[in-house]
Symmetry: C2
Subunit: 201 residues, 2 copies
């Protein structure tokens, strides 16, 4: 029986990691789907929670996607990461939602990862999450964030403790791979990136 | 009344361009959605044709997407481009479909654009489309293509006349932007790329 394993190995063994991705009407469908697909490729159990129910969600460029479950039926603190895709309409809806606020607070209190891209860091601001931390966003969202956060420009992905943020569709692979790296390790993230034909170091 | 316009301008005036994207079970959802989203951002009218009907399609990483219409109800030669996303299951299904074969032949005969990414160039081979042309694909598909085509490695996107091909999820933005460039011009493709935070020259 092997009882001594290295710390680096132990960290990612028994890796039934889980992610909740919130899907709201007006979500940026590329940012949503890159997160869902990349995390599933990394072996993470992904649940797609529909903000307004379990019916198909009309995204920002009129693609209709079916959530796995109605968001209000999800246990608020159950996941290793909560992921917020961007899109202006989707972000505004998540910012107005008490259910989203409760989920984010439960994950912040539990020391779990929270990840937001593009316009979605404004959702954190509206719910008072991760105040004071370093983050980034879609460039035009900066003005809504500079008062509450230490705003970073010129980086594709910014991590400050349990908060991971990123900028837009063109940085969505890096964003998703960084989340995967945090949950299941760099080697697995790099393996996934290789299959995607994406450079990730 | 202005009757003299430059050739470059004329080419893209009255630009009601249209695209058919075929969505089959097992499609790579990132490759599908990046094409749909980017082409719509470029002002191209996109129709998502469901290979097996108009019900939600289960993609390669279990995201369920609603097509706009059942593929068999689409006029075979109506579009300026037919786009085939990759994904092994989706490509195998498209390769086995006489409806897909008819649509591709009608577009080839009409001198319209055909675009395929990742595993989807094998669909062209199965239906005898664009034989002899230069193309690329997901690296592991090469062996199925070298006999019928002039296979290109080391390029993100390959264009040979009316055929545009590309390699995988990591090249999907370049693929979609190249299709947009062909249909609505380089300036518009670059404008879309800028909004995506994607480099495109």
């Amino acid at each position: 029986m092997v009882s001594v394993i290295s710390r680096g190995f132990k960290k990612f063994v028994n890796m039934s990691k889980s992610a909740l991705i919130i899907l709201a009407p007006g979500a940026e469908e590329m940012e949503f789907i890159i997160a869902a697909d990349v995390l599933r490729r990394a072996g993470i159990k992904v649940t797609v929670g529909g903000l307004n129910g379990s019916e198909p969600v009309k995204c920002s460029r009129d693609v209709h996607i079916l959530p796995d479950i109605e968001l209000s039926k999800v246990a608020a603190d159950k996941f290793d990461v909560v992921v917020l895709p961007g899109g202006l309409g989707g972000s505004n809806a998540m910012g107005d939602s008490p259910v989203v606020g409760d989920i984010l607070k439960a994950h912040e209190d539990g020391g779990k990862l929270i990840a937001a891209i593009c316009a979605a860091p404004t959702v954190l601001a509206k719910h008072g999450i991760a105040t004071g931390k370093s983050l980034t966003s879609y460039p035009s969202m900066k003005e809504q964030l500079v008062d509450k956060y230490s705003y970073v420009e010129g980086e594709l992905v910014v991590q400050d403790g349990n908060l991971i943020t990123s900028r837009g569709p063109g940085t969505a692979y890096d964003f998703a791979l960084k989340i995967a790296e945090e949950l299941v390790g760099k080697a697995k993230a790099q393996e996934v990136a290789k299959g995607l034909l994406v450079a990730y170091n």
